[in-house]
Each structure stands twice: as structure tokens, then as C-alpha cells.
Amino acid sequence: MRKGIRNWGPPLLLISPTIVLVGIFVYVLIGVNISTAMTKDSALTASEFVGLQNFTDLLTEPRFLHSLANLGIFTVFFMVGTMLFGFIWAWMLDKGVTAEGAFRSIYLFPMAVSFVASGVVWRWLLSSAQGDRASGLNRLLQSIGLGSLQNDWYNAPYWGMAAMAMPAIWQLAGYVMALFLSGFRGIPEELREAARMDGASEWKLYRHVIFPQLSPVALSALVIVAHMSLKVFDLIMAVTGSVYITEVPATYMWVALTGAEYGKASAIATILLLLVCIFIVPYLIYTARAERKARR
């Protein structure tokens, strides 16, 4: 027993500061947030318990549903876009190109730029002015003779959020590419050779050998991209600011907070947390199971 303490005591002591800090600043604060979400904390006044009223109000409010719809459109385009481009680039690099290092850096580089910094540039690129006043992408389309493709970008009702996903895809497709590339590289050459020896066509090689090996990578990439997408805030604030047409729950939360509607803001924060949990929790369960299987 004494020996036991000697073994696990010091490591526990060493990590206990982080346990305490994470406990307080993550989990206790999540609790405080949820309890604020249950109050009618409208301003600086003392709070009054209202139960789940903030949540029911929000879920019947057209404005909040609009922000959820925006988030849904954004997430779908963002996920499909990053996965598609990330995969294609990784596949092409895997096929073997000259100067692979240069391409890898070029595609990965956008990730080094923050959303806020690139958002300022994308605000200009996505300007919806057309004709004489066109700038950014619209001007580019005009000058290469594709003037008819000019459009309103994020100013378009309903599908505008698909345009808003463009900067996000530009930023993160390279990261997904890096994940896939490491997946491709993790597949031993012998496996491919064995398949080719067995007479598998190139398509069959991918279908039965490579894709199954890539699926854990794809899942991780999907989860990472999805939870980033659900929390999107800085990109939208940088490109448009908090305006109705591009409103997502995170920017709506910020608006409620500045309007001193703390109860409402906390309720939105709680809903966002739950949304992220929907993606993260199954993934955590999956990886935990996979690890247990691997240990056996």
C-alpha cells in the first residue's frame, strides 16, 4: 500500500494543478453557465429562476431558428468542401508529384493565418458589388470574361452562408489534406503490391484496400472540422460583423451578451455545447472502444 502511494502520489501531485484548473475553469464554469441559462438574468439585476423558459423561448424564436439554419448550411458546405479538397490534394500528392514539399507548404499555409486576419481579406473578396463598382471575386470574374457568374455572395438570402464557407474551406482544406496524406503514407507499400499481384484494378485497390484503411483518419478529420464549424464566430465577425443575414448561434450569443441578456446568452451557449457534444461524444466512445480493442 505504502509502495502504491510512492508510485502514483508524485505524478498525481504534479498533474493536480491542471486537474484543479481545468475542473474550475472548464467544468465548474459550464455548470455556472447552465445555471445562468435557467435564470431571467436580463441585466445587472438579481437573477430570477425561470427553469427552461429561455430554451423554449429560443427554440420557438424565428431569429434563433434562422441562425441555426445558417449554421446548418455553413456546416454542410464547410465539411463537404474541406473533405473533398483535402482528399483530392492528398491523393494527388500521394500519386507522386515533383516538389511535393512545396505543394504541401502551400496548401497547409492558410492554416497558419487566423480567421480574423484572413476574414478581413475575404470581406473584400466577397464584396457583392457588381458592374462598375465590382471588387474582389466579382471583379476577377468580370475581367476573365465570366461576368455572368458575378453574384451577391453572402448577401444572398438563404444560400449566402454557402459563400461564407469558402474562406473556411480555403483555410482548413490543407489541414484535412495533411491528415489524409499521413493516412495514405501509413498504408504499407506491401499491401498495395500484394493487391496488384492479385490482379486488382486501380479502382478495386482503392475500394477494398486503401479506403478501409483511411476511414479512421476520415472520421477524425470529420469530427475536427464539424466541431470547428459549429463554433464558428471569428470568421463571421471579421467578414460581416454581427448582422442578421449571416447570423449563427455564436454571433447571436455575442449580441445577447452585449444587450445584457445574460440568461439568453447562456442558453445559446448551452445549446451550442450540446450541438458539439452530438458530434464529439460518439467519436470519443468510438475511439475509446478502438483503443480497448487494440490493447487486447
Binding site: V20, I24, V243, I245
Partner: protein, 428 residues
């Protein structure tokens, strides 16, 4: 070795625990009403003409009260929204600054209801401010018979900025304002026929709120407009329907790419001649000055058609929080702000006009002279877009309703959203 490691780890834990306790409890010295040794002033004036104005004001303050030390607690960014969040958390923790900036009027409602700021009615009487501030302004500042803030400057929100060149080319006299919205719309049609693609320029959501507020004021008149904010005018009235109709006609002459662009983008369109009109507060003057435009020659201004005779005001003002650590210092600060010298120094630097009616117009440039003359004689009403008319959450609701209207053009939904916002805002 092990023991040493354990000891170090133990110390680290203890140290962190102590660090966690400290810091939260340093506001033990509660407000002393007679402490004038310093004054901590909280603003969002951290750059540009606003910073210049604050510096000029501090200079006057140092002359008038050399014994009170000025402590600048400015929080930069986001048109004050960062500062407002920082301030709210300080007030909630009962650690107020000695004085903080807020837009005068209804934006203070939350602070008043929470009893976070002091009634300054006696301060007004002691310093004779009730005589030098116009009574229409005092009416706008008074809540249940009490005044809670001291304005440092006045801005006007119902100003239309006009590119004279474009109007002259289209055969319209730029010096004469259209009599009403119908005449204005007719002029816009004329401009469009003469090849001006965007007669009116707009920018992001709040500038569209300001345009809508101008239309409401034009259609409802001063009393009807003012009634919207205390509930005597209902948002489901036919006048509001008419206003929404005018608003959507105006938008049909405006650029559609405004969302997400800040106000200078729209103002620049008037400056470089792509748009003929822009409705913006009088801080736009600095933008015209910066581009070397001459007032009365290359550009001119008039009150938005139909709002002549009313002055749609917003003002920055300062307060005395409950439990301010240096209340006497704060009162010295408020005295400087309200003094003739303080107002002159500040407003000359910031480009706004003084709230006092006894200021000498000769000290100010041409545009400000005109604004001062109107402020002295016009009916003063509160600006919606800038926190004077309603509290912040109500304004947020209206802003979002307008954002929705601009993208969907659904007048019915817009009006019912406005009705809901009024019901919620009045707490009914």
C-alpha cells in the same frame, strides 16, 4: 529526489490555490464621498478624433483641478461593445470606475433599473446646468424626474449628405432640400434616369436602422416618433406601415452590397461620386474633411426630408456609479465636462457640438455653426440607432428585424417583428 519532487509539486499546488484567492478581494476600500485625490474614467475613446477629444478634455481638467489625478481606463474596439461588456462585469462585481461613458438616454436604463448609477439632479442644480442645457435636451435625459448623466457633446443623426455635382448634372438644386419623402424619391428617380446607378448609399445593419429611424421621424413627426419609445404610438399603426413602405422604396434606390461594410464605405460613395445621398450622423464630416471636400461646394447637407425642425440627437455622457471609490474626484470630472471650456476643447477636437446653449458659434467651423443653431431652436428627439431612444436589447431586436427585412423584403413580418420588439422592450 522523490521527496524533493513531491515538495515542489505540493508548493506549486499551494501557490496556485493562493493565486486563485488573491485578486478577487481588492475592492475592500468602499466609496469615500470626499476623496478627490484621483478619478478613474472609463471610456471607449482610444483612437482617432475620439482620443484627441479625450486628450483635450483632460488638459482642461488638469488646469481646473490640478489636485485630482486623471486615470484613463479606456477599453478599445468595437464601437464600445468591448468596453460595455468589460464595464458590465466590473459593475456586477461591485468594482465600479469613478465615472464611465455611456450614450445619454435610454441606453442607461439597465444601469438605472439595477441601481448602479447615482441620481445627478442635485449636481445639475448646484452647477446651474439646468439653465445652460436646453430644456428639450433635459427632457430627453430625465427618467422619472431624475437625471443620471452629464452629456459631453451632441451629435445629430438626421443628416443627409449630398454630392452637389451629381445633383447639378441631373438638374436638381442641391442647396434646396426636398420638401418630403415623396419629393426626395422623385429626385432619386431623376438621378437614376440621368445614369446615377445608386442614388442612395447604405452600409451595414446599424446604418440601415439609422435610415429607418429617419423615415419614421419623417412620417410620424416628432411627437409620434417619440411616442414609439414610450408606447403611446403603436408599431402596428398605419403610419408605421406607410413608413415601412417609404423605407422599402428608398432601399430600391440604394446599393445592395452594404451588409458587412462599415459606414465610411457608404460615405465614401458620396465623396467619390458613385452615390448622390447618404444618411449618416454628423461624424461623417470628419470623413469629408479628410478627403479635402469643401462644405457648400463639393458636398452639402440638409436635415433628412420631412424632418426639418427636429434634431435627432445622440450624446456621449458621463455618470457617477453607486459606490465610486473617489466620488468627489468624479464630481470634479463631471464639472469639467459640463463647463464651457471643457465642452469647447472636447468638441473642437471631436467634431461634434457642445450641449450648452451659451457656447459661441464663432469658435466652430461652418457645419457645426449650422448644427448649433438648429440644436438651439429645433425639437430634440432621441436617436434609435445610437442608444438614446431605447435600451440595448430592444435596439438589438429592431436591428435584427431590419436585417431580415433588407434580405427578404417582407413588410408584414417586419412590422410584426417591430410590434413584438416594442411589447418586449416595454416589458408588457
Amino acid at each position: 529526489m522523490r521527496k524533493a519532487l513531491a515538495a515542489v509539486a505540493g508548493l506549486a499546488v499551494a501557490g496556485l490555490a493562493l493565486a486563485g484567492c488573491a485578486g478577487s478581494n481588492d475592492n475592500g476600500d468602499k466609496g469615500d464621498a470626499n476623496d478627490a485625490s484621483q478619478v478613474e474614467v472609463f471610456t471607449w475613446w482610444a483612437s482617432g478624433s475620439e482620443k484627441a477629444g479625450l486628450d483635450a478634455l483632460v488638459k482642461v481638467f488638469d488646469q481646473q483641478f490640478p489636485d485630482t489625478k486623471f486615470v484613463n481606463a479606456a477599453v478599445a474596439g468595437g464601437a464600445g461593445s468591448n468596453a460595455k461588456n468589460a464595464l458590465a462585469s466590473r459593475l456586477k462585481a461591485n468594482n465600479p470606475p469613478d465615472s464611465f461613458q455611456a450614450h445619454a438616454g435610454a441606453e442607461l436604463t439597465d444601469y438605472i433599473e439595477a441601481e448602479k448609477i447615482e441620481d445627478l439632479s442635485d449636481f445639475y442644480k448646484e452647477n446651474g446646468l439646468t439653465d445652460v442645457f436646453p430644456s428639450t435636451l433635459l427632457d430627453r435625459l430625465t427618467v422619472d424626474g431624475k437625471i443620471y448623466s452629464v452629456p459631453s457633446n451632441i451629435h445629430r443623426a438626421n443628416v443627409t449628405w449630398v454630392n452637389t455635382d451629381l445633383l447639378t448634372k441631373a438638374g436638381i438644386d442641391p442647396k434646396v432640400a426636398p420638401a418630403d419623402l415623396d419629393a426626395w424619391l422623385a429626385d432619386m428617380q431623376k438621378l437614376k434616369d440621368n445614369g446615377v446607378e445608386t442614388p442612395l448609399s447604405v452600409a451595414t445593419d446599424w446604418t440601415q436602422v439609422q435610415l429607418f429611424e429617419n423615415v419614421l421621424l419623417s412620417v410620424l413627426g416628432a411627437d409620434g416618433y417619440q411616442g414609439l419609445w414610450d408606447g403611446t404610438t403603436k408599431f402596428d399603426s398605419t403610419e408605421v406601415t406607410t413608413a415601412i413602405d417609404y423605407y422599402s422604396q428608398l432601399l430600391s434606390f440604394a446599393n445592395t452590397d452594404g451588409t458587412g461594410q462599415d459606414w465610411p464605405v457608404a460615405t465614401d460613395m458620396v465623396i467619390d461620386g458613385t452615390a448622390a445621398y447618404n444618411v449618416m450622423g454628423d461624424w461623417a464630416l470628419a470623413e469629408f474633411d479628410a478627403k479635402n471636400m469643401t462644405y457648400g461646394k463639393e458636398f452639402t447637407t440638409w436635415p433628412t426630408p420631412g424632418t426639418d425642425g427636429t434634431f435627432d440627437f445622440l450624446a456621449d455622457s458621463f455618470t457617477l456609479p453607486v459606490g465610486a471609490p473617489h466620488a468627489a474626484g468624479a464630481k470634479n470630472w463631471l464639472k469639467t465636462i459640463s463647463s464651457a471650456d471643457g465642452q469647447k476643447a472636447f468638441n473642437l477636437a471631436k467634431g461634434s457640438i457642445p450641449a450648452r446653449t451659451d457656447a459661441d458659434p464663432a469658435d466652430y467651423p461652418e457645419y457645426q455653426q449650422g448644427a448649433m443653431a438648429s440644436f438651439a431652436k429645433d425639437t430634440v428627439v432621441s436617436s434609435l440607432a445610437h442608444g438614446a431612444a431605447v435600451k440595448v436589447s430592444w435596439l438589438n431586436d429592431i436591428t435584427s428585424a431590419i436585417g431580415q427585412f433588407v434580405s427578404t423584403k417582407d413588410a408584414g413580418t417586419f412590422q410584426s417583428a417591430l410590434v413584438d420588439a416594442q411589447t418586449k422592450g416595454l416589458g408588457q
